[in-house]
Every structure is written in C-alpha cells, then in structure tokens.
C-alpha cells in the first residue's frame, strides 16, 4: 500500500512537471474544460426554463444535479480520462508488454498513470455553481448531509470508473475499437439527469442502466436530505460489485492477451 502511495505521489509530481513543460496544451485544455462546463450549465438552465418541477424534482434541484455532475466529471477527467484514452492506444500499438513486465499491479499502471490537472477548472466551476445554487435557493444543508454527500460521491466515482474500465477492457479483444472512449463519454453524460427520468424506459433497459443513473442522483439527494437508505445501499452495492467485476475481467483479459499474441 505504501509503495502505491509513494508511486502515486511521484506520478503527481511528474505529471505536474509535464504540464509546465508543455504550456500550449495548457490553455487549450482549460478553454475546453471551462467551455464544456459552461455548456452543460447553460443547457440545463435552458431546458428546464419553462417548468418548475419534473420527475419529482424541483427545478433548482435539477440544476444542482448538473452542478454536482460537473464536479464529479471534473474529478473523473482529472484522474482517469487521459488514462483511458491512452489505454486503447497501448493495446493497438502493442505497448502493453512493457507495462506487464513491471512489478506493479497492471490495473493500477493503466488507470493512474496520467493526471489532467487542467480539469481543476471544471471542478471549480461546478463547485462554484453548487455553492451559488445552495445559497440562492436557500437549500438547507447539514454537516451530516455533507459527509454523506462526499462519501457517496466518492463511491459514485468508483462505480463510474468500474463501468469505464469494464468497457475499455474490451479493446484487448477489439483493438480497433479506440472510439469506445468517446462512447463512454456519452454514457457518462447519462448521469446528469435524475434517475427517475429513466424510469420512462422499458423496464429491462432501465434495469440495465440503473447503476449508472444512480451515480450523481444519489449523492445529490444526500446533500439535500432527500435520500432513501435503499438507494444509498444500491449505489454502494453496485459500486463494489462492478469494481470487483472490473478486476476479475481485467485478469481474464490479460490471460487472453498473454496467450494469443506474438
């Protein structure tokens, strides 16, 4: 454990040095981070413009959902996105070998290698909007609620990571499916809408999507103190199950990779 923490600290340092070394990308990333952050906020404001409630949510709560989505996706982009983008190239260009020969867990090396610091602006934007909404709409917030919120957000992040990892692992069998990363970005966008909205779908589709739809909805409910224990338990359950599945599937994929390639 200590090894991995030290290693991650070194990676944080290297990624930061990398950022300073290549300043042109710096501004591009900030501009796109902020643009998309603003876009999702503008979209939700416009789209909920004419109604005061839908799917059992008040309008301000739906806006809050988008704000918290921005925070979550910002954290996800910072920690994981670049790594997933890199992964599909790793497989395609046969560079997975040099990773597997290192005495460090390969899932760790694949998932945590790169850090995108410029996403911090997206996180800040989301956080700022969250605070603004809580203040402007006089939403009551307690310490307990905040603690619950942060924990469930972290668990939601784990769930999102696991789903991504499961899908991206498929590129070991289909190295050409590098665009699966873009697909996952769209899927991640599912989380910005209230879970209840997806109940409109046929039940089998809804059940299939359910874990994802809980990711942002559940922590948000915790924050505004509307959470049901059942939903919290479901989120936690899904997160652990899918994370475990991602590890198993990865080991399985590596067994395939190391038997067929040459």
């Amino acid at each position: 454990m200590k090894l991995y923490l030290r290693l991650y600290k070194t990676l944080l340092h290297l990624n930061f040095a990398n950022l300073l070394a290549y300043r042109v990308n710096f501004t591009t990333n900030i501009v796109s981070s902020v643009s998309w952050g603003l876009f999702s906020i503008i979209s939700i404001i416009l789209v909920t413009g004419k109604a005061n409630s839908m799917f059992g949510w008040r309008r301000d709560e739906i806006l809050l959902l988008t704000a918290i989505y921005s925070v979550l996706i910002g954290v996800f982009h910072m920690l994981f996105s670049k790594n997933f983008e890199r992964f599909s190239n790793l497989v395609y260009y046969g560079q997975l070998d040099s990773l597997l020969v290192k005495p460090i867990d390969s899932q760790f090396l694949v998932s945590f290698w790169l850090i995108n610091y410029t996403s911090i602006f997206r996180i800040l934007l989301g956080a700022a909007y969250t605070f603004y909404l809580l203040y402007a709409y006089h939403m009551a917030v307690s310490l307990g609620a905040v603690m619950g919120f942060i924990s469930l957000l972290a668990i939601g992040l784990t769930l999102l990571y696991s789903v991504w990892f499961l899908c991206v692992t498929l590129t070991i069998w289909f190295p050409r499916l590098t665009n699966i990363v873009f697909f996952m970005y769209s899927v991640s966008g599912l989380t910005r809408y209230p879970q209840e909205m997806y109940r409109q779908l046929a039940s089998y589709v809804f059940l299939f999507l359910m874990p994802i739809t809980l990711i942002v909805t559940t922590p948000t409910k915790a924050l505004v103190q509307r959470l049901s224990l059942a939903e919290a338990i479901m989120l936690i359950g899904f997160a652990f199950t899918l994370f475990y599945a991602s590890r198993k599937f990865w080991k399985f994929a590596l067994r395939y990779y190391t038997s067929a390639s040459s």
């Binding site: 591009t28 979209s43 004419k50």
Partner: protein, 265 residues
Amino acid sequence: MRYVRILLIHFEDAIAERARNLVWFLIALINPLMLLLFWRGAILEKPEAYGQWNIPSIVSYYLLLIIAGAFLQVHIEEKIAYTDIQQGSLSNYLTKPFSYLLWNFFIELPYRVLQGSFGVIVFLIFFVLFGNIVSIASDPLILVLASVVIILGYLLSFFFKMILGISALWTTDFSGLVNLVEVVTLVFGGFIMPIHLYPVILQRISFALPFASMFYFPIIAISGKLVVVELFQVIAVQCIWLVSLGSIYQLAWRRGVRLFTAIGQ
C-alpha cells in the same frame, strides 16, 4: 488450418471495422435520445408550457437533429488546420489550377452524405415503428422550399468551417478556438432544444447569428413548422449570410495565402 486462421482474421477485421462504425453510430444517438426522454417527461407533466411543441413534434425535432448533426455539421476545419497549414500540404493546392474552395467542397461532401444517411436510417426506423410520432411537411411547395433552406444551410456551414480552418494561420490556440466555436454552435444552432423555446433575449441573439440558419431553420423547415412566407424570409436571411461569409472567406483566403507563402509554414 492455416486458411481457417486467415479467414478468421479477415472476419475479425470486418467485424472490428463494423463494430467501430456501430460505436460511432451509438455515440450520435445517445445524446438526442437522452434529451428526448427528458422532453417526454417534461411535456407530459406540463404540456401547456410548450405551446405547439408536443411530443410528436419534439420527437421529430430530435430525430431530425440527429440527421442535421450528421449531414450539416462540416468538419473540414481540422484537415485545413492540421494537414494543410501545420503540415504544409497547402503548398500542393496552391500550385494546382483548381479552386481550394471547390476542392475541399468535394472532399467533404461524400462524408457528410454517408453520415447523413445513417441518420436517415434511424429516422426511417422510427417512422416505420412509430408512424404517427414523427412529423414531416407534406405540401410539395413547402418541401421544395425546405430543400433550398437545407442546401443553403449546408453551404453556410461549409463556408464557416472553411473560414475557421484558415484562421489557423493566425491563431495560437486553434484547438481551444474550435472547442469554443463548437459550444457556441451547439447553443445557438438549436442543438440543445428548439430555439423558439428559448427565453426571448436568447432567441433574438440566436436569430442574429448564422448558426440558426445552418441547422435550426433547415430542421424546422422540413418538419413543416414554417409557412411559405416564413420560408422565403429564412431563405433571404440565409442568402445575406452566404454573401457575408463568402466575402469574409475570400478576404481571409487572400490574406492567408499571402501570409502562408511569405513565411512558409
């Protein structure tokens, strides 16, 4: 045994390519479908808030949006900025007795038609399955005028992206600019929701910009939401934009060529 393996490799290859295309297709579908779900819920809950936009018309809107997104969204600026300008291939074009504009037009068109047809397939599937849930204009005159609006919309989109591409000669952060333009296009081109449902101020801004003429008007024209008079008004506005963008392009092109040939790349 060796031949079986070769066969399997080609099979895997074909599937891989098809799987890749399937993924692109799914990506194009997901966002509009999510918005559709949202609207269905919203309209069902409070239909009076949305005026003439009922579920069938909203469904048509988003389905047509998929096609519009695929067909009318031009992507030539990336090639111009990276391949032609940054890597210098522009020199090849300058020595040929063929208009750079026309050349790129013919490069881009096939892609747009191909992608647009994916969208049309989705539309047809919905049409066959849910018949009366999608609405398109039926009056022949309106259809003809709508086609004109669509063609003009495409030309506007094309010119705009050509200008954007050439601007790479002057901008330091082209990627950032492209991202910004994309967001602006989505907001003011009607990709979030029908512009007529925007707050009034935003509507006015949208109609003052060219993006609505590129995407929004073609969509509502073909779905029959505009009467003949309005169609002519739209066409007039599009023509004004076409002349403007055309002039800006010529200016940018002339200045750009001078810059490019003066400093190399």
